[in-house]
C-alpha cells in the first residue's frame, strides 16, 4: 500500500519528468558522439592493413572451398531468413552470425565482398606468404605469388620471388611516376596551349581579319607544339614499353592463375607477416596517399587530393567575396542606416535568409550566375569558344559566388553583433578627441569588432565547406580533369569545374557502381570533412567565448 502511494507521490513531485528531460539531453549527446565515433572508427579503420585469413568454407553438405580474404563487419541474423534465401546451414541454431568477407579479385569473382556464415567456416589460418596487390584496375588482389618474369621469362620463383618483386617494384614505380609526369604535366600543358591557339584562330576569324600574317604566326606556333607533342609521345611510348617488361604470375586461393604486369600494380604487401611497426608504417603511407593522391578506379580507390584542393580553393574564393560585402552591409546597417522600422525589417530579413534552404541559392546561382551572367560574359568576351560555353556553364567562380550569397547572412549577423557589443564609451571617446566618424570606425570600432567578424567568417567557411546541395547545380563534378589552379597562365582558372569533399561523399557513396567496395573510402572522406568542420566550429566557439569575457571586462 504505502509503496503504491509513495510511487504516486513521487510522480506528483514531477521528479520522473525532470529525469525524462535529462534523458532527452543524454540521448541527444549520445547521438552526436555516436555519430562522430561511428565515422571516426570506420574512417580510421580504412587505412589499417587487415590480416588475410585463409578459410575452408562449406558450400553445401559435400563441397568445400578454400577462400582468402579479410573479415569485415559481422551481425546476427535469424537463420530462417538465410534458409529462405536457399542457403546451406550446417547447424540449426535460431540465430546465425555472419561476416562480410572481402575476397577481392574482382577480375575473377565479379564482386569484392560476400557474406559468409560462421557455422560453415572450417579451419582458419593466416599464412605468412599471402599477398595483397593494390592495382590500378580491378581493385585488390589477394593470393599467392608464384613467379616473377622479365619479358615473359621466369627470373625468380618460390621464396626468391618476393625479394625479386620488391626490387622490381621500385623500378616500376619510378617508371609510373615518369609516365604520370609526362601525361599530366607536359602533355596536358601542350593540349592546353593547343586549345588556346585554336581559340585565337577562331577569334581572328570572328573579327574577320583577312591579313594572313597572324594566321601564319598561329600556324607556326601550332606546328611547334605538334613537334613538341610528337617528342613527348615518343618518350611516353618508350616508357610504356619499358614499364611492360616485368610481370608476375599469381594465383588465388582456388588455384586460378593470372599474369599481372608490374605497371598495373600500385603496392604490394604481405599483411600476415607484418609486425605492428610495419603496419603503422603502412597506415601512415596510406593516409598520406589518401590526402595527396588522385583518385583511382572511378573514385573508389586512391586519394582525394583534388577534392580537398577544390574545397579549399572554393572556400577561399568565397571568403574573398563574402568578407567585404558582409562587413560593408553590417557597418551600414549598424552605423549609418537610420535605426527605424525599415532597418528592423531589413535586419530580420537578412537574419531569415540564413534559414532559406540552400538549394534555393543553388537554383538562383544556376539561373542568374551561370545562365544569365555567364551566358552574357561568353557572348561578350569568349565568342571564339562558342558554342562550347566558358563561363556559361557551372564552375568554381559561380560556386564561390553562390556560397558567398548563402553565407552572407552569417557574416552580416556576426559582424553586426560584434559592432553592437562595442561600448558607447569607446566610440564617444574617439569622437570627443576630434576623430571623424569614418576614422572612429576604421581605427577603433572595426579593429575591436574584428574577432567577431572572424567568428562569422569561420562559421561561414565551415558552413560553405559542408554545403553540397547548391554546389551540385553550380559547379561541382565527380571527376575534374584538371585543378582550378595550375602552371598555365592565367594560373587561376575560374571557369573550371572542381571536386568537393561533400559531393565526393555523396557521389562515391550513392552513384558509384561498386558502393560496397567504396564505402570505407567514403567513411574516410567523411571523417576528414567532419574533422575540418568541427575544428573550424570549435575555433569559432573559442573565439566567441574569449570575446565575451573581454567585453564583459570592458563594460564593467
Amino acid at each position: 500500500m504505502s509503496g503504491n502511494s509513495d510511487l504516486k507521490k513521487w510522480f506528483s513531485t514531477g521528479t520522473p519528468w525532470v529525469w525524462t528531460s535529462a534523458g532527452a539531453v543524454s540521448l541527444s549527446l549520445l547521438m552526436v558522439f555516436g555519430v562522430l565515433a561511428l565515422i571516426a572508427l570506420r574512417g580510421l579503420g580504412y587505412f589499417w592493413p587487415a590480416d588475410l585469413a585463409q578459410i575452408e568454407y562449406q558450400l553445401d553438405a559435400e563441397s568445400k572451398i578454400v577462400k582468402v580474404g579479410e573479415f569485415h563487419e559481422h551481425e546476427m541474423v535469424p537463420s530462417i531468413q538465410l534458409r529462405e534465401a536457399g542457403l546451406y546451414l550446417p547447424s540449426d541454431d535460431d540465430l546465425v552470425k555472419r561476416y562480410l568477407f572481402k575476397v577481392g579479385n574482382r577480375d575473377f569473382y565479379g564482386q569484392d565482398f560476400r557474406w559468409i556464415i560462421e557455422p560453415s567456416i572450417g579451419e582458419t589460418s593466416y599464412p605468412e606468404h599471402l599477398m595483397v596487390l593494390e592495382r590500378h584496375e580491378w581493385g585488390n588482389f589477394f593470393g599467392h605469388l608464384l613467379q616473377v618474369k622479365e619479358s615473359g621469362k621466369v627470373v625468380a620463383e618460390g621464396d626468391a620471388a618476393r625479394a625479386e618483386l620488391d626490387r622490381r617494384m621500385v623500378r616500376a614505380m619510378d617508371l609510373h611516376d615518369q609516365i604520370k609526369t609526362i601525361e599530366k604535366g607536359a602533355i596536358g600543358s601542350v593540349n592546353y596551349r593547343m586549345e588556346k591557339l585554336r581559340l585565337a584562330k577562331r577569334s581572328l576569324e570572328l573579327d574577320e581579319v583577312t591579313d594572313p600574317a597572324p594566321y601564319g604566326r598561329l600556324e607556326e606556333a601550332k606546328q611547334e607544339l605538334d613537334a613538341e607533342y610528337q617528342v613527348l609521345m615518343g618518350q611516353l611510348n618508350k616508357l610504356y614499353e619499358k614499364s611492360k617488361r616485368d610481370s608476375i604470375t599469381v594465383s588465388d586461393s582456388e588455384g586460378n592463375q593470372k599474369e599481372i604486369s608490374l605497371h598495373m600494380i600500385v603496392r604490394v604487401y604481405y599483411p600476415n607477416s607484418m609486425g605492428v611497426f610495419d603496419k603503422i608504417g603502412h597506415y601512415i603511407a596510406k593516409v598520406i596517399e589518401f590526402v595527396s593522391a588522385d583518385p583511382r578506379e572511378a573514385n573508389t580507390e586512391g586519394g582525394i587530393f583534388p577534392a580537398i584542393f577544390g574545397t579549399v580553393m572554393m572556400v577561399m574564393i568565397m571568403t574573398v567575396f563574402v568578407t567585404p560585402l558582409g562587413v560593408v552591409a553590417a557597418v551600414y546597417l549598424r552605423e549609418y542606416a537610420k535605426q527605424g522600422p525599415l532597418t528592423q525589417v531589413i535586419r530580420i530579413s537578412v537574419n531569415n535568409l540564413a534559414g532559406v534552404p540552400s538549394i534555393v541559392y543553388g537554383v538562383f546561382g544556376l539561373g542568374f550566375f551561370v545562365y544569365f551572367l555567364g551566358g552574357n560574359i561568353d557572348q561578350l568576351f569568349f565568342r571564339e569558344a562558342l558554342p562550347a560555353p566558358t563561363f556559361g556553364t557551372p564552375g568554381i567562380l559561380w560556386s564561390s559566388l553562390t556560397l558567398a550569397l548563402l553565407t552572407l547572412p552569417v557574416v552580416i549577423v556576426a559582424t553586426e553583433e560584434g559592432l553592437s557589443r562595442i561600448p558607447r564609451s569607446v566610440r564617444e571617446g574617439s569622437l570627443a578627441l576630434g576623430a571623424t566618424k569614418a576614422e572612429t570606425l576604421w581605427r577603433i570600432v572595426i579593429p575591436m569588432a574584428s574577432p567577431a567578424l572572424m567568428t562569422g567568417l569561420i562559421l561561414a567557411v565551415a558552413r560553405a565547406a559542408g554545403e553540397v546541395a547548391p554546389l551540385m547545380l553550380v559547379g561541382v563534378v565527380k571527376l575534374a580533369p584538371s585543378l582550378p589552379l595550375d602552371g598555365e597562365a592565367p594560373f587561376l582558372h575560374l571557369d573550371r569545374k572542381f571536386m568537393h569533399l561533400g559531393f565526393h561523399v555523396y557521389d562515391v557513396g550513392f552513384q558509384s557502381p561498386n558502393v560496397e567496395a567504396a564505402r570505407p573510402l567514403v567513411y574516410a572522406t567523411a571523417l576528414l570533412l567532419v574533422i575540418v568542420i568541427v575544428a573550424l566550429n570549435l575555433a569559432a566557439i573559442a573565439i566567441r567565448n574569449h570575446l565575451r569575457e573581454k567585453y564583459r571586462a570592458l563594460e564593467s
Binding site: V18, S26, V328, Y336, A337, Y361, F364
Partner: protein
C-alpha cells in the same frame, strides 16, 4: 604626448585647414561608400526573390499572337484547298488541293516556291483526303476508283555558303503505284491513314456505305537500299458507313473512330488486323448538336470533338471495372460560341487550335485545361489551318481566299494553377490523379507537373523529423536551461552546436548507407527501443532514490543527464541485442516479410522513418538552441517566487517558466520546421525519391528540394520544366521565409516582454 610632424604646424595655417578639409571629405565619402555598398548588398539579397519570381512569371502568361503577313494567292480557288501544313523553320508552307497538286509557298509573302502534281491514275479524281500523324509528313488521297495514293511532303535542308537552304520535295514512301483499297472500285468517300517504320494502315468508307481496311507491311529489300516490297491485305469491316462524316485512326494503328453527322461514334479496336472489333457505340455530342470537326490530339490517344455549339471536348478510352476500354468524356472547353469548323493540333505537346464559323480562333491546352487565347482573326469562316511543328506560328486560309500567317508566343501552355495543385486526368489514366512525372523517352509524352505529391513528400518528411526532434529538443532544452549544473551546461551547449554544424551530406550518407540497412535488419529493435528507453529512464530515476546516501551525495544536482548515459546505452544495447530473437519468436524470422505478407504494409529500405531519424538529428540542435535561450531567459525572480511558495522545481518549470517561455519555444519549432522543409541532401540520400503520396512510415517520398536537385541539371534552360523547378524553389523560399519571419517576430516580442519583467 601626441607628437607628429603635423602637430608642429600652427592650427590656423592653411595646410592644417586643408588637412582637416580632406578628413571631412573622406568622412563623407566613407559615409556614401558604405551606404551605397550596404544597400546594394541588401538589394542583391532581395534580388534572389525577384529573380526567381522573374523566371516563374512566364508560366502564367497568356498566349500572344502577332500578324506577320496576310495575302491572297493568285489564280487559286479557296475551295480547292484540302490541307495546309508548315515545315519546322516557319519558312515554307504546303497546300494540297482537290485536284491533286501540292503547292509550296514562302510563308512570309505568299509567293509560290514549288509546285508538283501528284501522279493519279488516269480517269480517277480525288474523293477524300487525310493526313497521318504530323511528324511523319505523310498524307493520303482517296480516289474515285477505289484506290489511294500516299505521298510525303519533305524538306531537305542544305547549307551552301553557310546559309540555310530548304528545298521542298514530294516523295512516295509507299511507291508511286496507287494502293487498291476497294477491290470493287467504288468511290472512297472518306479515308484515314497512319504509318510506322514498317507498316501502314488505310481505312476508308465507300460511297455505298462499306467500311474497308487495308493493312500494308513494308519489307525493305536486303539487296538494294531504298527498295522495298509491299505486302497488302484488304478487309471489310462490319459497319454501316453511309452516313459517316469523320473517319479517324489512332497514330499507333490501334483504333478507329467512325463518326456520323448526328454524333454517333463507332469505336473499333484494330490492334489485331485480322479481326477488328467494334468496342463501343456512343453519342459524343449533346442532343440537338452536331459534330462539326474531329481530330486526334498528338500521340493518338485523345479524340477532340468540336460541335455546333462551339464546344470542344476531349475523349479517350478508360478502363472500367469490367476491364473494358470505354470512351470517356475527359474535359471540355466552352470558350467559343459558334460551330467549331477546324481543329489543328500542335506536335510534340498536347495543345490545339480551334477555329469557328465566325472566324474566331482559340488556343487551348488539354492537360492544363487552359484556354490561352480566343480572338476574332478572320472575317469569313476558316477553310484550313496549320500550326508549325514548333508551335510557334500558324497559317490559315479563309473562305474568301485570304491567307494569314501569324507568329505565336505560347511557350508554357501546359501549366495552369489547376494542373499544378489540382487533380488532373492524364491520358490513359483511370481517374484524375496527382502525379509528378516530368520526362520520359517518348516525344509524345504528356508531362505531369503536379506539385502536390512532392509538396506532400516535403511535409511528410518534415512531419516525421519533427516527431523525432521536438520531444528530444524541447525536453533537452528545458533540462539544460533550468535543471542542469552550469559545468555540464558548458559541455552540452558546444556539443549541440557541433551537432548543428555537421554537414547534412554526412548525415544523409550515414542515413542511407548505415542507418537504413540497420533499421531494416533490426526493425523489432526500433520498437523495443521506443518503449524500453523511456521505461529505463523512469526506472533508473526511481531506483536512484534508494541508492546509498553516500553515492547520492557524491553526485551533485544537475548531473542527472550524465548518470543516465550508461542507462540509456544499456537500454539501447538490450533493444537491439534482443531484436533478432524477438524477430524469430514473433515475426517468423523476418519482420519485413511479416509486415508485407501479414499486414499488407509495403516496406522500402529507405523510408520515412530513416528520414525522420536523420533529419530529426539535423533539426534537434536548431530547436534546442533557440528553445534553450528562451527558457534560460525567463527572469529568475519568477521561478524563485514560485519555489518560495512551495512548488516543486518541476511544478515551477511546468506552470511558470514554460508558460512564460512558450512563445520562444514556438518560434524554435517554427525555425526547426523551416529547416526540415528545406533540407536537401538528407532526403536525397535517405529516401528512394519516389513521388508517392502515402503517409506510411515505411515508405519513401520525394521532396521539393530533392526534386530540384535531381531534375534541374537535366532540364533545358527556359523550358516549362525548368521554370516549374524554379517555382518549386520559390515556394520553398516563400515558405521558409514566412515561417522564419513569424518565428523572429514572436521572439522579438518575447525579448521585449522579458526586459519589461
Amino acid at each position: 604626448m601626441y607628437m607628429t610632424a603635423e602637430t608642429n604646424i600652427d592650427k590656423t595655417t592653411a595646410a592644417r585647414a586643408r588637412h582637416n578639409k580632406m578628413r571631412m571629405v573622406k568622412d563623407v565619402l566613407a559615409k556614401y561608400a558604405v551606404s551605397i555598398g550596404g544597400t546594394s548588398v541588401i538589394l542583391a539579397i532581395a534580388l534572389i526573390f525577384f529573380y526567381l519570381f522573374f523566371v516563374v512569371i512566364p508560366l502564367f502568361k497568356a498566349a500572344e499572337i502577332e500578324l506577320v503577313a496576310s495575302y491572297k494567292i493568285d489564280g487559286t480557288n479557296a475551295s480547292e484547298t484540302l490541307y495546309l501544313a508548315m515545315e519546322e523553320q516557319n519558312e515554307i508552307g504546303v497546300r494540297f488541293t482537290r485536284s491533286g497538286v501540292a503547292e509550296f509557298y514562302n510563308l512570309a509573302d505568299g509567293s509560290l516556291r514549288y509546285r508538283e502534281a501528284i501522279e493519279l491514275p488516269a480517269g480517277a479524281t480525288v474523293s477524300s483526303f487525310a493526313s497521318a500523324a504530323l511528324e511523319h509528313g505523310l498524307v493520303v488521297y482517296g480516289l474515285s476508283n477505289g484506290q489511294a495514293v500516299v505521298v510525303k511532303h519533305h524538306y531537305k535542308v542544305t547549307f551552301p555558303d553557310d546559309l540555310r537552304k530548304i528545298t521542298p520535295q514530294i516523295l512516295y514512301p509507299f511507291g508511286e503505284e496507287p494502293i487498291t483499297v476497294d477491290d470493287e472500285g467504288d468511290i472512297l468517300s472518306d479515308i484515314a491513314f497512319q504509318n510506322s517504320e514498317e507498316e501502314a494502315t488505310i481505312v476508308a468508307a465507300t460511297n455505298d456505305g462499306r467500311l474497308l481496311m487495308t493493312h500494308l507491311i513494308k519489307e525493305e529489300s536486303m539487296m538494294d537500299e531504298g527498295m522495298f516490297e509491299l505486302e497488302q491485305e484488304n478487309l471489310t469491316l462490319n459497319y454501316d458507313a453511309s452516313t459517316l462524316v469523320y473517319l479517324l485512326m489512332g497514330q499507333e494503328q490501334d483504333k478507329i473512330y467512325a463518326i456520323d453527322q448526328s454524333g454517333e461514334l463507332g469505336f473499333f479496336n484494330i490492334r489485331d488486323k485480322e479481326e477488328p472489333e467494334l468496342e463501343q457505340r456512343l453519342r459524343i455530342v449533346e442532343q440537338g448538336e452536331r459534330v462539326t470537326s474531329a481530330m486526334f490530339l498528338t500521340g493518338g490517344i485523345s479524340l477532340l470533338v468540336g460541335d455546333s455549339s462551339g464546344q470542344v471536348s476531349q475523349w479517350f478510352p478508360v478502363r472500367d471495372e469490367h476491364n473494358n476500354k470505354v470512351l470517356t468524356l475527359i474535359r471540355s472547353f466552352e470558350d467559343q460560341d459558334n460551330p467549331i469548323d477546324k481543329i489543328a493540333i500542335e506536335s510534340g505537346r498536347k495543345g490545339f487550335i480551334a477555329a469557328d464559323r465566325e472566324g474566331n480562333v482559340g488556343l487551348y491546352h488539354s492537360t492544363a485545361h487552359r484556354t490561352l487565347l480566343v480572338e476574332p482573326l478572320a472575317d469569313t469562316p476558316i477553310n484550313a489551318i496549320a500550326i508549325s511543328p514548333r508551335s510557334s506560328a500558324m497559317w490559315f486560309e479563309e473562305q474568301n481566299g485570304t491567307m494569314q500567317f501569324w507568329k505565336i508566343h505560347n511557350e508554357h501552355p501546359e501549366v495552369s494553377w489547376s494542373s499544378l495543385w489540382g487533380e488532373v486526368w492524364y491520358e490513359s489514366y483511370e481517374k484524375p490523379e496527382y502525379t509528378w512525372q516530368s520526362s520520359s523517352s517518348s516525344s509524345d509524352f504528356e508531362p505531369k507537373y503536379s506539385l502536390v505529391p512532392i509538396s506532400f513528400g516535403t511535409l511528410k518528411a518534415a512531419f516525421y523529423a519533427m516527431l523525432v526532434a521536438m520531444p528530444l529538443a524541447i525536453l533537452g532544452a528545458i533540462y539544460t536551461a533550468y535543471f542542469m549544473a552550469p559545468k555540464m551546461r558548458n559541455i552540452v551547449k558546444p556539443s549541440i552546436e557541433i551537432m548543428e554544424a555537421l554537414p547534412t551530406v554526412i548525415l544523409g550518407f550515414l542515413a542511407g548507407l548505415w542507418l537504413a540497412p540497420f533499421i531494416e535488419k533490426h526493425l523489432p529493435g526500433i520498437f523495443i527501443m521506443l518503449m524500453l528507453v523511456p521505461a529505463a529512464i523512469i526506472a533508473a530515476a526511481f531506483a536512484w532514490q534508494f541508492a546509498p546516501r553516500k553515492l547520492r551525495h557524491a553526485v551533485p544536482e544537475g548531473w542527472e543527464a550524465a548518470l543516465l548515459l550508461p542507462v540509456i546505452i544499456l537500454a539501447l544495447w538490450a533493444s537491439f541485442g534482443f531484436s533478432p530473437s524477438i524477430e524469430t519468436t514473433f515475426f517468423g524470422g523476418d519482420m519485413r516479410h511479416y509486415l508485407s505478407n501479414e499486414l499488407g504494409i509495403n516496406f522500402d529500405q529507405r523510408n520515412a522513418m530513416v528520414v525522420g531519424l536523420a533529419m530529426g538529428f539535423a533539426v534537434i540542435p536548431t530547436i534546442f538552441s533557440i528553445a534553450e535561450d528562451a527558457v534560460f531567459g525567463v527572469p529568475r525572480h519568477l521561478s524563485h517566487g514560485s519555489l518560495a511558495l512551495g512548488a516543486t522545481p518541476w511544478q515551477t518549470m511546468w506552470r511558470v517558466v514554460l508558460l512564460t517561455a512558450s512563445p520562444g519555444i514556438f518560434s524554435a519549432v517554427m525555425i526547426g520546421f523551416g529547416r526540415a522543409v528545406g533540407e536537401t541532401m538528407i532526403v536525397l540520400m535517405a529516401t528512394g525519391n519516389t513521388p508517392v503520396m502515402d503517409m506510411s512510415i515505411f515508405q519513401g517520398l520525394r521532396t521539393l528540394s530533392a526534386n530540384i536537385a535531381v531534375e534541374i541539371p537535366e532540364s533545358e534552360v527556359a523550358s516549362t520544366h525548368y521554370r516549374i523547378l524554379f517555382l518549386a524553389a520559390l515556394v520553398l523560399f516563400a515558405f521558409t521565409f514566412f515561417f522564419n519571419t513569424l518565428a523572429e517576430v514572436v521572439r522579438q516580442r518575447l525579448r521585449k516582454k522579458y526586459s519589461s519583467l
